[in-house]
Amino acid sequence: MSTSTTDVLPLRTEHDIVLARQQVRRLTQALGFGLVDQTKMVTAASELARNAVIYGKGGVVRWETLADGARRGLRLHFIDEGPGIPDLQQAMTDGWTSGTGMGLGLSGAKRLVNEFDIETAPGRGTRVTVTRWK
């Protein structure tokens, strides 16, 4: 499997959430994703970018396009150095929220992608990696 075009955007403000989803839209279009797949990946990115801005106190999103034989994919890494998630199992539960949201951010984003990985520890920030294949 080969990867290419790695790049990064900051996630500091609400406006950065908009820029991140517009970037993910462009990337999925360039990879030739269908409209539903584009929309799922953009929506997952919006949820995870907001988590990084609000709960992670800011961070970055990195991306790389993937090629595995004829398959093409997009992998996004949402990285923050915020407080981390003390109880990951709880945070991944539908409807559970520590803030004012609906508690669908993490669990919902997971359902919208093909691969989902999260690393977090109290005081050590959070890193969420999602991949969607065409």
Partner: protein
């Protein structure tokens, strides 16, 4: 400051969301629209989201809240024009928008809005009889 315009047509309010909204813009619309419903005594609100390429949990929650808030202020809300890809994604995300009235396009939405406003008007007359 950015604002989404709210148009008045008689006793109805019409909002067309044509930009990729940041969170504060969505919250401002929620405030502006509920204030407008009260100020003009609107009976119905039509929200056109046909230009929205994505509805995430934040925007979805704003739409559901708007619908509930205007209901409490005695106005009906119909959300029109949701793209199929957005609907598919919303359901997988886990957001069903329960209690939100929808229609495929503006014309059907207005018809539905008029019908539900007339229906609620009729029930008041019934009570008076």
């Amino acid at each position: 400051m950015d604002r989404i315009p709210i148009l008045r047509m008689g006793e109805y309010l019409l909002v067309t969301i044509q930009v990729d909204m940041h969170d504060q813009l969505a919250l401002t619309l929620q405030d502006d629209l509920t204030a407008a419903v009260q100020r003009v005594g609107a009976k119905g609100v039509l929200i056109d989201i046909s230009a929205l390429e994505m509805v995430d949990s934040f925007i979805g929650r704003m739409i559901a809240n708007l619908s509930r808030m205007s209901r409490i202020l005695d106005a009906r809300t119909v959300v029109v024009g949701m793209r199929p890809a957005v609907a598919i994604t919303l359901v997988e995300l886990g957001l069903s928008l329960a209690g939100v009235d929808t229609a495929l396009d503006v014309e059907r939405g207005m018809r539905r809005l008029r019908a539900s406003v007339e229906e609620s008007g009729a029930s008041i007359v019934d009570l008076d009889d």
